[in-house]
Amino acid sequence: MQKYWCLVIVGSILFWISPLQAEYGDVVLNKRAEREGMPPVVFPHWFHRIRFRCKVCHSELGFEMRAGSNNVTMQEIIDGKFCGMCHNDEIAWGVENCDLCHSGRPGLKSRIHGGHSTAGPGIW
């Protein structure tokens, strides 16, 4: 009986202290950000899908639907491609607001974060 309780208690403590996770669908982009001296980029899907349907970015703007497969450079954004199609001070804040996108904690890896369901055996 005591063994059983120990397992349950250790399990629930582990579950409890497991780190809080990002919002479902949040993407971290850090392919080159930190290498070039900027914090990682956090892209919140939830925020963007309230304002744009998937097809806008994933069809019109050409974002591949796989974290890590889009080779986005700051130069391309400044030239109005990818994020820069909207982040141009007209539709959304412009590129001079570095900190608002480059807002991630140091050392994060590029991938989809958020929720127990994305932390599974997938390849995101």
């Binding site: 309780w5 349950v8 409890w16 809080l20 899908r49 349907r53 703007l61 608002l100 807002s103 055996p121």
Partner: protein
Amino acid sequence: MPDMRYSRWFYAIFFIPILLLPFLSVAGSKWRELSNDNIHDPDGPAIDVLQQPAEALSKLPQDTSGNMVNWVKALEEGAINPRTNLWPETKVQVRNNDLFLENTGEMPVVRFPHRAHTLWLDCKNCHEKYFISKEGANPITMMKILQGKYCGRCHGAVAFPLTECDRCHSVPRNKLEQIKAKSRK
């Protein structure tokens, strides 16, 4: 030597609260604060500027998984009206038919509603890249979906997660013909 066995009161007072903590911490934070979400830098200047998830998502139709928002319902009910295109010349297409994937072993048949998907996505997001537009041409398995292929490209990442079995496997085999007859062509 003292008795090594603890009384039941000891368990009750010390361990039951510990058992309840996970549920309390989950219930207390349906949407996490950005400063506490483990990916935003809590000391960065963006924290006070960016919108908090709870502020936006709590006003939308609720769900029990993912963002805790039923995104398709939000769209159909008009709670949100996200833009369909940036360029006026882009052709916005919506397809209304349902597909039935019957090769599901002992699980109920999968009903795939084109409408819910094309309200969000363009045809060429899925066709012919991930799904061939021909019945029976796509060898979909749950294992591939779990690895992020086929449906798993979005379900489990941004659309409702793979723990929601019965939302796709929604058609009991004995009601299949009846539901097919009623479904959108």
